[in-house]
């Protein structure tokens, strides 16, 4: 079984988001970087599947050169191969991203055979468009389900569960297929020290990419209405308990 997982580097923003001077980017000068929780689960799923079924697990990202760190982290967890679609520009939209990823998948599949499974995170933790997986599936003419909560492989079939508002949908699809994975499908492992050392030796394939023109243009980010509040401090330590109960009474909750 050959599995491809697509991930995206995002700044680890913590409690507040600072914008760059032109409002077109996150001011990430003092921040670390990570990937979306959904994508961590996609990586974990690929590692588990390949361990069970054999084959190889490839991790791919589109981003600046520094995104190599997120590829290395996935390799350290147990992915086998890494591909970096390299660009200097972080403001790619979903259509542009999907086009570059589709072109690359076609090339990789010509050389190494098809990916039985292509996994994405359900939506990126930054823009949250939730589009790239579906667009890639459509371009490759493969079935897809977005935002899945369960995945089992049975021969040439994928048995998939997806939670909707009032229940859980069950699907049975033929492979090859494309899925976007939701956080909670598994418990992602951390990279081991040995894995981290081994991952440094795995060559990463660099491919330079440029965005195509599309009918949509990103203008800028804008802050949501200021939600910052000044909390009333009810006290310090256990002595605050009486004031807490007073608040519960005021809110008519006890």
């Amino acid at each position: 079984m050959n599995v491809l997982v697509c991930i995206k580097q995002i700044p680890d923003v913590g409690g507040t988001i600072k914008l760059s001077d032109d409002d077109r980017d996150i001011d990430s000068r003092n921040l670390g970087f990570t990937i979306s929780p959904h994508e961590e689960c996609a990586v974990e799923q690929a590692i588990q599947l390949v361990k069970k079924e054999g084959g190889s697990a490839t991790v791919l990202t589109l981003g600046i050169a520094d995104s190599e760190k997120q590829l290395r982290d996935s390799l350290a967890r147990g992915m086998n191969k890494g591909v970096l679609l390299h660009t200097d520009n972080n403001n790619w939209n979903a259509n542009q991203t999907a086009q570059a990823i589709t072109d690359t998948i076609k090339e990789l599949e010509t050389d190494n055979g098809i990916f039985d499974l292509i996994l994405f995170g359900s939506e990126s933790a930054d823009r949250g468009n939730g589009q790239v997986g579906i667009l890639v599936a459509h371009a490759l003419d493969r079935p897809s389900v977005n935002g899945i909560n369960g995945l089992e492989i049975a021969g040439d079939m994928a048995l998939v569960k997806r939670d909707i508002d009032d229940g859980t949908e069950n699907y049975e699809l033929d492979l090859p297929a494309v899925f976007a994975v939701k956080d909670g499908m598994n418990l992602p492992r951390s990279a081991s020290l040995r894995g981290t050392v081994m991952a440094k030796k795995i060559p990463i394939q660099f491919i330079d990419v440029e965005p195509d023109d599309t009918g949509i243009a990103f203008l800028k980010f804008e802050r949501t209405p200021e939600q910052s509040k000044q909390a009333v401090v009810l006290g310090r330590g256990p002595e605050a308990a009486a004031n807490v109960v007073q608040v519960l009474k005021t809110l008519e909750l006890v």
Binding site: V13, G14, G15, T16, I17, S36, A94, S122, A125, D126, G128, G130, Q131, I134, L135, A139, P143, V145, N146, G147, R162, I164, D165, D166, G167, T168, E169, N170, E172, L173, K182, D183, G184, L187, G215, I216, A217, F218, L219, K220, F221, E222, Q227, K229, A231, V232, V233, L234, G235, R236, G237, P238, A241, A242, V244, V245, V247, L248, L253, V254
Partner: protein, 318 residues
């Protein structure tokens, strides 16, 4: 004309769809034209759609389309839009709504803007969408003959505004077998679990400061006394201290209780995405500089393992 994709269960549109119809009316006030709607598998929607301002209902009742199939539904919507040429196709930003619309975009070689909260329709359309789990807005410009948009849930309230009548027009799409590659085989309806994070009036959340799975015991105890649901931040579900279904945050439950008691939670933006609709927030944290406090109404500076037992004692004594 604005065409709205409506989702329903047994002929009753869901809340996000009614919100989408309400949003469509404000959009129609800018663009002119009437509002039409399309849905799958129900002939009985016209009355309620009329109450929400829809003057024509395109009903697709093909038997093979009753069970949800993303591509088949999208192909149907594409064929309908090709035949009636709306200026906008608008859908609720639900799991299915977003999925179907992205497929419609792919089939039409058009861009889709998901999770929209505001539209300024001029020569160019300036659209505001939610980004970073609602932590930021993102402004985009689209230049297409057909705008494909999904509406961020809870952007507007669902409100009625009836028109005189709503015609029903039946539409029959031309479909192929391959459009049913991803079709729902069955749906398990969720059972009411009683005290759920989404419905409880008090929710207690634990974070890194809880320290362990056992550490949740004191939160559970307070939860029982207050009849509150207990959840955790992603740190606690990732460490296995708490099941994922109890996660509060961007990638877990989105809660809106009367009071949210956040214990040992620093307040990362991803957590706030799940709890920002709480009416009141009480924070218990050892760090008086925790970002969570700047989103809270009340704070107690202290160790939750000391503060919560004192609160339990105080409630028992009062």
């Amino acid at each position: 004309m604005i065409l709205v994709f409506v989702e329903h269960r047994d002929g009753q549109p869901d809340i996000p769809s009614l919100q989408t119809l309400s949003f469509a009316r404000t959009l129609a006030a800018q663009t002119g034209g009437n509002i039409e709607a399309v849905a799958f598998g129900s002939d009985s929607l016209a009355d309620i759609l009329r109450d929400y301002g829809v003057s024509r209902y395109h009903s697709i009742t093909d038997d093979q389309l009753v069970a949800y199939a993303s591509e088949a539904w999208a192909v149907s919507l594409k064929q309908l839009t090709d035949s009636i040429s709306p200026k906008v196709l608008l859908a609720p930003g639900s799991i299915r709504g977003n999925e179907v619309m992205v497929y419609v975009g792919a089939l039409s070689s058009l861009s889709v803007v998901t999770n929209v909260c505001q539209v300024n329709a001029g020569n160019e359309w300036r659209i505001t969408r939610t980004s970073w789990g609602g932590g930021l807005f993102e402004k985009v410009l689209i230049d297409q003959d057909l705008a494909l948009l999904t509406l961020s849930t809870n952007t507007v309230e669902a409100s009625e505004s009836a028109v005189d009548s709503c015609d029903i027009v039946s539409f029959t799409p031309a479909l192929e077998k391959k459009h049913f590659r991803a079709q729902v085989k069955s749906v398990e309806r969720s059972v009411d679990e009683g005290m759920s994070l989404k419905t409880a009036s008090i929710v207690i959340g634990g974070g890194r400061g809880v320290g362990s799975g056992e550490g949740f015991g004191v939160l559970e105890e307070l939860g029982e006394i207050l009849k509150a649901a207990v959840g955790g931040s992603r740190v606690t579900t990732n460490n296995g201290w708490r099941a994922h279904k109890h996660q509060i945050g961007l990638t877990g439950n989105h809660i809106s209780p009367k009071l949210y008691i956040a214990c040992g939670i620093s307040g990362a933006i991803q957590h706030m995405a799940g709890c920002k609709n709480s009416e009141n927030i009480l924070v218990i944290n050892t760090d008086e500089n925790a970002p969570m406090l700047s989103h809270a109404d009340y704070g107690v500076i202290g160790d939750l393992h000391e503060v919560i037992p004192a609160i339990i004692e105080e409630i028992k004594n009062s």
